[in-house]
Structure formats: C-alpha cells, structure tokens
Amino acid sequence: MSTEPEAPAPTPADGPSSGPTRRTFIATTSAVGGVVIAGGAIGGGFLASDEADAAPAAPASRVSLTVNGTRHTVTVDNRTSLLDLLREHLDLTGAKKGCDAGACGACTVLVDGHRQNACLTLAVRLEGAKVTTIEGLADGERLHPLQQAFIDEDAFQCGYCTPGQIVSGVGCIKEGHTHSPEEIREWMSGNICRCGCYVKIVRAVEQAAGRK
C-alpha cells in the first residue's frame, strides 16, 4: 500500500497499463498529519497471485474526506459505500452493517453534522465532507455524555445497534427533537434495536439532552 498525500490521483481513464494496480486502488489511504491509516485490511499486500492481477481494474475514484478529525485521501472502488469504506478500509468498525439497505440505522454516522445511513451513501460522493462515527465521539478517555448515559441506563444489550443509536441520538439532541419522550421515540425510530432496549434508549437520550 502506498501513501500519496500530494500525488496526483490515478484515475480509471489512465487504463490498465498506466493506472493503479490493485494494490493501490483498493484502499490507497493517506492521512494528513503523518498518520497512515491501516487501510489495507482487505488484502492489498496479499495479492501476489495471478488471477486477481490479471483482470482489469474496477472503476475507482479518488476522494478526500475527514473522518473523526483525520483527513483521508483515498482511491476507492466507485461501488464502495461510506459504510464499507469505514469498515473494510479505514479500520473503523464502529458503524455497523445491519441491513445494508437503509432500514435499520445501525450504520448511522454524522455527515457534516447530519445523521446519515452510511450504507446508502457512496463514498465517492463525499469529497470534502466531515464524517463523525462512534469512534469520534469521546474526548480522549472521557466519554460523550450520551455514551455515558447509555451505560448508566443500560440502554443496550448485545451492543450491535448501539453505535448507530448513540450517533443518531447525538443528532436527535442536536436537532432539538428531545422535548418529550414521544418526540424522542419518533425521531429515534430509524434505529432498530432488536434486543428491545427502546425504553432505556429514550431515558438515555433524555439524560444526555439534560431533561433529567
């Protein structure tokens, strides 16, 4: 995997001969500030083998976005969702894949401050965007008040929907949809919790919103 903070982006138009090899296009990631994100988890360095390298490259694009305060310039397969970029390339597995179809909310992240289903968002559309995931909420060791409220209220069991619930709750509070339990329930209904912790999720959001 190469890092190329300032190098010109290889584009699909470059063609197979001059364009990126699989090693570079799969998850070429660089982070401003000298931090190289371990984006090769999908096996860029592993592909010594013939059959993969023999095929032409899949269409890819280069995009720069900021995730949890760290700027990344990545060349990604055009089909890659923001969720898969986070989970498979940037080693940020906090946002979860529950349905991959925008129906469950487990992948909820903030994009430029707004709640968004990362599974329905193509990564290449995010040029210049600021993305906040569950990993970006705590201030060092100090949890975000809503993270702490989830622990205090026991607002989760298996924990799989929890990152999406919490990020969604942060959005809900920011949007001001926390005037009553009814309002919280309505505005938190895009996030399914199959363990059935809704009663406590509402309490946690209330607590963090300062209503309790």
């Binding site: 699989r22 799969i26 205090d152 009663v199």
Partner: protein
C-alpha cells in the same frame, strides 16, 4: 451460594463491557482484523425445489478481483460425518453445501464467489448464471401432509370433553418469525495446514467446533472457534449453519482467509426461524371454570430434509391442573430450510394458544381471567407427579394485578373508549423450563490479587460477561474490577449452548464452584501458614472481601491474597470449576414463571393497535444482576410486541420465495411502538434448581407477551383474533 458476603451479586451494576460497546470497539464476528482476508458472497437458488442443470461462471470470473467461484461442480467432496453433539435435529440429513445438484428450498446456497474486495464478490455473485430444472415447491403448511404425531395423554380427554358442561374449541395460527438479530450472521475462516480457525457469530463455540470438525473430517482440536461478541441472536446462533461451512470451504479452496457476511435477505433462508403453527385447542370445564380436559393438536412446519421439534408440549401438560389431557404434535415437512429455536421456543407458541383459550373460557363463563387461572392452579406437576421446586405464579398474579391496576379493567369487552381509541386490558401466564447442563470454567487467581475466569460461553446480550463476573467476584472475595471474565473461545473450558436460559445456572454454577475452590485453597494456605495472621483459625471462619482474607468476627485479623501468595512464593492459584448438571432422576419439576399484563388502545375505525403499557412479574429464582435482568425483561416484552402485532415471514407459495426478506417489509418493533414497559422480579431463590438458585430469564420474559396483548385486544374490541400477528386487517 457460597458463605461469602454477596457484594456484587444482586447489585444493580452496569455492564462490564459497556465502554467497549458504546465506543464501537467491541469486535463482532466480521470485525476481526485478519491479515490477507478476502471476501465471499453466496449465490442463492432462485427456485424452490429441483436441480441445477448448469452453472456459468465465466462473467463472474472475468470481473476484476474475483478469485474463484465454487459450486457443486468443482467443490471438494466433504466427509460430513454425523455430529450428535450439536443442535442438528437427530432425524434427517443436514444440508451438504455444494455436494450435489439438488435444490431443496428457495435461497439454498448454490455457489460462492470469492474476491479480493467485497464489491467484486457482490458483483461477481450477481453474474453467476445458474440454470435449473425447477419443480413446484410445497411450502404451505395448510396444504402439505404431516408426519406421524408425537403424542401425550393422561386420563381420557375425548370423553371428558364430551361430558364437559362448558367447552372451547378454537384453532389458532402463529406466523413464522425470524430472529433478525441486528448483527448479520458472519464468519471469517482461516486454515493453517489442517488447522482451522473461525471467527463466527455463534451462541455455542463448542457446537460450531464439532460441526466444522465433522463436516471437514478433522479432529475437533484442530478447529478453533472464536466469538467474543455476538450482536444478538435469540436462537439463530444455536446451530452452525451452512454458510459457516461455505466460508471454511472457500478458505480451503482459495488458501486464503475468507470473510463471509450474510446479507440481511440471506438470513431468512441460511439460518433458521420460529416455525409457523396451526394449533387447535379444545378446553372442557365445569361451570365454575375448573378445567376437566384439554386436547391439543398442532401442526408445525419443518424442512423436507430435517425434522425440527421444540418444547411445545410442556405448557399444555403442567401449566394448569387438568385431569384429562391429550396432545398430538405433527411436523409438516416443507420445501423450506430447517427451523431453529427462537426466544421462548415452543413455550411462547403454546402459551399464545393456551392463554388465549383460557381468556376465551373466562369470557364465556364471566369469570375474571386471573380468578380462572387461580382456580386451576396445580399443586404439583401433573405430568410428572413431582412437586414444583418453586412455583410462585399466584404471587405473580397478585403482585401484577396490584401494580398494573387490574381492578380498572372492565369485564365487558368494548366498554372503554377514549375518542377514536378503544381501550382494553389483558393478561397471560408465562412459563419456561429451567434447563441446566454440565459446564466447566477455569479460574486463575494471580499473585497481584486479580483473577481471570475463562469459559467457552457466549454473551449475545443478556450480560454473561457482567453476571459471571459478579458471581466470581463474590466467591473469590474480589472487587468487580479485579476480575476478568473471558468467553467465546473453544480453547476455554466447554459450556452448553448459550440458549434455553441455561447459561447462568450452568456456567454460573461452574464459575461458582471453581472460585470457591480457589478461595478455599487460599484460606487453607493462610490458616496453615505460621507467618499468616490467620494461622490456626478454622477455615470456615475465614471470609474474603476486597481481596483480603480475614476472620468473620474480627475483620482486622487478616491479610491480602497478594501478601499471602507472595510470602508463599506462589505465582498464582488455580482451579477448574465444574457443574455436573441436574440429577439424572429429578425429584422436582423446575420452571420459571411470569404473569404478563398489557393495556392496548385500538383505533375503532382503522384497526391500528397501540400497546400503551405492559408489565411483567417474574418468578425466576435468584436475580444475579438486577439492572441487566430488567433490560432482559423489557427486551423480551418488546420482542413479544413484535410477535403479537408485527412479525410475519411471508412465503410466495408459487416458487417458495420469501417476499419480505428485509427489515423494511418484515416488521419489527421500532422505538415509537414501545411506550411503557415495567418489570418486577419476585425476590427469592430456588435452592433445588442449581447452586446459584437461579431459574433462567431470557426465555420466560418473552413467553406470555403475545397472548396478554391478544387478550387486551379482545377486551378493547370484543374481537377474538386467533392469528399472529394481529394486524389491522383482522380488526376491521
């Protein structure tokens, strides 16, 4: 319990793994960072029954990044030895992936595409062209031929029904439900020579280990299964499903670590489900509501290749005092994949039917539903002629009635209205058997006074990490912080499946045993050590608190584990804890109970049902972790709201396709559906059940929820709906 002070057990503690979960750092199956991993996507059969005539993989293989397409035409033959130590149904032959050209159900895996990226694998899978010789599948429970029934009888139910002055005869239908845990089933498989490691979503690492070992014909100790976090399962992780074999097979063929995550749609036919039932129940009673007969006939779906059965018969045999009972339980083989246990398996289904019928009987006789149940409360388990270890169902009724305001319920249906809304109240009893199985745990007390406890258990959400730590902390006399409980690794001492509400009783008893042993070792060391302030003290007079051993009567006289071990030059103390399971011949009948109450509002013109509030009162033995137990109950009730009003896997009988295999069309409760849920646990313990005195929680909290809601709907509207889910259409 042990003679130790109980500081952690019974305290409302937060989850020990909470911080990991709220920061997104708890690694679930697909999130383990395995170097060089490639991606696999399964190709599903698009017919409901038949055979594959050809598979064209050229387009898929031409895709950049696609490494291999594996199917029955090129897959290695696998041994698929029998695996009795599993949750595979004993009758039948399990699905053998890519071993022949047969298609047994719609969605069966017919090929797998392995590629360097997820995108390439997904696209590749869509390009595999499979041709079939299709037959019309049989997927309709109502039209298919049933197997021979499993029967139970006591007395003469038929004769008693004929002479009964009051009779109920009704047929109920329960829809197929899918677990739909938020985490999709996923496996990462890696071979090193003949050794296989899998990171898997499972409720039983030991079961997955034996399955992979028998399928691939390698020794069990060559297979390691790792599963530290499970994103919900509710039963779907009790078997090792074909996709886990597919992942391991793909890893073997490609000689690379392979990650396979089922798509949400694929959960509906690669993993099991709660089977649909048609259940006819006849009740006979005298004019005072005293039951004289119950006759149960039930048909339940299973697959054509395996006979799945569950504990649907018990409630009909032991919940109420009835001299004459007959039961016939028929499985109906269909061209579907095999069902599996789902929360409150069998009991939840039977309780919907029995508790609805009891409500019908109460209405017919004009007796209060609680009073009717009290009149039929048995003094012993009439199916076994054994006393109940503990049965506090009467207390559940009275406590619940008081707390819920049952006296506000109007006996006459459809007599309370608020604007457009008809208001009603209903209740039901719930029961689930207290299962226990042998388990082991390893306890290591370090010289620094910290301890590590290992067991191959699982925590799909109920709080195994926390509650086992509580048990260990008290038995060792350590703070919660000083104890680390580890689970989800087949290298750890074996435990039973994390299901059937048996983890606390089984694993917890093994943990308790091992910690008691270690504590006693330390006490023995101290009282026999001339250098110890405890020298010469009777061992039973020593307790340990906060890592410090001291005499019961004089806390000043003592020393810490740390000083004791260091002076004796011991790097650690250790023990293997074990629990042998219940006695072969039990002298009691063991069940957990509840009374569940519901208040609903039904829109008189639209038929929309809103559950306004619910209450569960539980007789579940000792509660180890009250804060988490409350969450369990609230969650079980929330799931029950789904079963009652929303959940229904719909099959198109023309081709066997599931038409709502996604979370937009398979409806589950969302936040706005759940208003007010309360849980009350009766204080107490069951000394006969197991060393901890627990009776299990996770299942019983779900049982009785659907009938409580159905009965409330009847009270609100006067309409008796005998099909789950209760939809608006049924109320119009």
């Amino acid at each position: 319990m042990s003679p130790q002070p109980q500081a952690a057990v019974g305290a409302p503690l937060s989850r020990v793994e909470g911080r990991l979960k709220v920061t997104g750092k708890a690694p679930y199956a697909a999130e383990h960072d395995i170097k060089g991993v490639v991606h696999a996507v399964i190709v599903d059969a698009s017919i409901g029954r038949g055979r594959i005539t050809s598979i064209d993989t050229d387009d898929a293989l031409a895709q950049p990044g696609v490494l291999k397409v594996i199917h029955h035409g090129n897959a290695p033959k696998l041994p698929y030895k029998d695996n009795p130590a599993s949750n595979n149904p004993p009758d039948g032959r399990r699905l053998r992936v890519f071993q022949d050209d047969k298609v047994l159900f719609h969605g069966q895996p017919v090929a797998v595409v392995v590629a360097t990226t997820l995108e390439a694998a997904q696209h590749g899978a869509s390009l595999v062209k499979v041709a079939y010789d299709a037959q019309k599948p049989s997927t309709d429970l109502a039209k298919a031929k049933a197997d021979k029934p499993t029967k139970y009888a006591r007395g003469d139910a038929a004769a008693a029904l004929r002479s009964a002055p009051v009779r109920i005869d009704a047929t109920y239908q329960v829809a197929r439900n899918h677990h739909n845990a938020m985490e999709p089933h996923a496996t990462i498989a890696r071979w090193s020579g003949n050794k296989l490691t899998v990171w898997d979503k499972t409720q039983w690492v030991v079961g997955t280990q034996t399955e992979l070992s028998t399928v691939f014909g390698v020794p069990a100790d060559s297979v390691r299964v790792i599963s530290p976090y499970v994103g919900g399962a509710f039963g779907s992780g009790l078997r090792c499903w074909p996709h886990t074999v597919v992942a391991a097979l793909a890893a073997r063929v490609t000689r690379r670590p392979v990650k396979l995550v089922l798509k949400r749609r694929q959960q509906y036919f690669n993993t099991g489900f709660r089977p649909s039932y048609e259940y006819r129940l006849k009740l006979g009673s005298n004019s005072q509501g005293r039951l004289t007969a119950m006759a149960h006939e039930m048909d339940a779906e299973t697959s054509s290749y395996e006979t799945f059965t569950e504990s649907v018969l018990f409630p009909g045999q032991m919940l109420y005092s009835t001299p004459n009972v007959s039961q016939a339980y028929r499985t109906v083989p269909l061209d579907v994949n095999t069902p599996i246990y789902m929360r409150g398996p069998g009991f939840a289904t039977a309780s919907f039917v029995i508790e609805s019928a009891m409500d019908e009987l109460a209405a017919k006789l004009g007796i209060d539903p609680i009073e009717l149940r009290l009149r039929n409360e048995p003094s012993e388990d009439e199916s076994k002629n054994l006393p109940f270890s503990t049965r506090r169902l009467r207390e559940c009724y009275t406590t619940g009635a008081r707390a819920f305001g049952w006296d506000q319920r109007r006996a006459k249906p459809r007599s309370r209205r608020e604007g457009d809304w008809l208001i009603g109240m209903g209740m039901a009893a719930g029961v689930y058997d207290t299962a226990r199985m042998p388990a082991q745990a390893r306890i290591l007390l370090n010289a620094d006074g910290t301890a590590v406890v290992d067991a191959a258990a699982s925590d799909m959400g109920p709080g195994t990490y926390t509650s086992q730590t509580q048990v260990a902390a008290d038995a060792l006399g350590l703070t919660m912080r000083s104890v680390t409980f580890r689970l989800g690794d087949s290298l750890f001492p074996p435990t039973p499946p994390h299901g059937g509400s048996m983890t606390m009783a089984s694993v917890g008893s093994a943990v308790l045993d091992g910690c008691n042993q270690v504590r006693r070792q330390a006490i023995k060391l101290a009282v026999e050590d001339r250098e110890s302030p405890l020298y010469g003290v009777e061992a039973e007079d020593v307790v340990v608190r906060g890592g410090r051993l001291h005499t019961k009567n004089n806390p000043v006289r003592g020393e810490t584990y740390k000083s004791l071990l260091s002076r004796n030059k011991r790097s650690h103390l250790e023990a293997k804890g074990s629990y042998a399971g219940p006695a072969a011949k039990e002298r009691h009948s063991f069940y957990a109970y509840n009374a569940t109450f519901a208040e609903v509002a039904v829109d008189a013109t639209l038929g929309l049902v809103r559950v306004r509030r619910m209450l569960g009162v539980y007789d579940a033995g000792r509660i180890i972790s009250p804060k988490l137990a409350e969450s369990q109950a609230i969650g079980g009730i929330t799931g029950g709201i789904g079963t009652a009003l929303l959940e229904h896997t719909v099959t198109d009988h023309r081709d066997g396709r599931i038409v709502n295999a996604n979370l937009a069309d398979y409806l589950v409760p969302v936040n706005a559906d759940v208003l007010d849920i309360q849980a009350i646990y009766l204080d107490g313990e069951d000394r006969e059940a197991d060393p901890l005195g627990v009776k299990g929680l996770g299942e019983v909290v779900h049982v009785g929820v659907a009938p409580a809601i159905a009965n409330a709907v009847f009270n609100a509207t006067g309409r008796r709906v005998r099909q789950l889910p209760i939809t608006a259409e049924a109320l119009l």
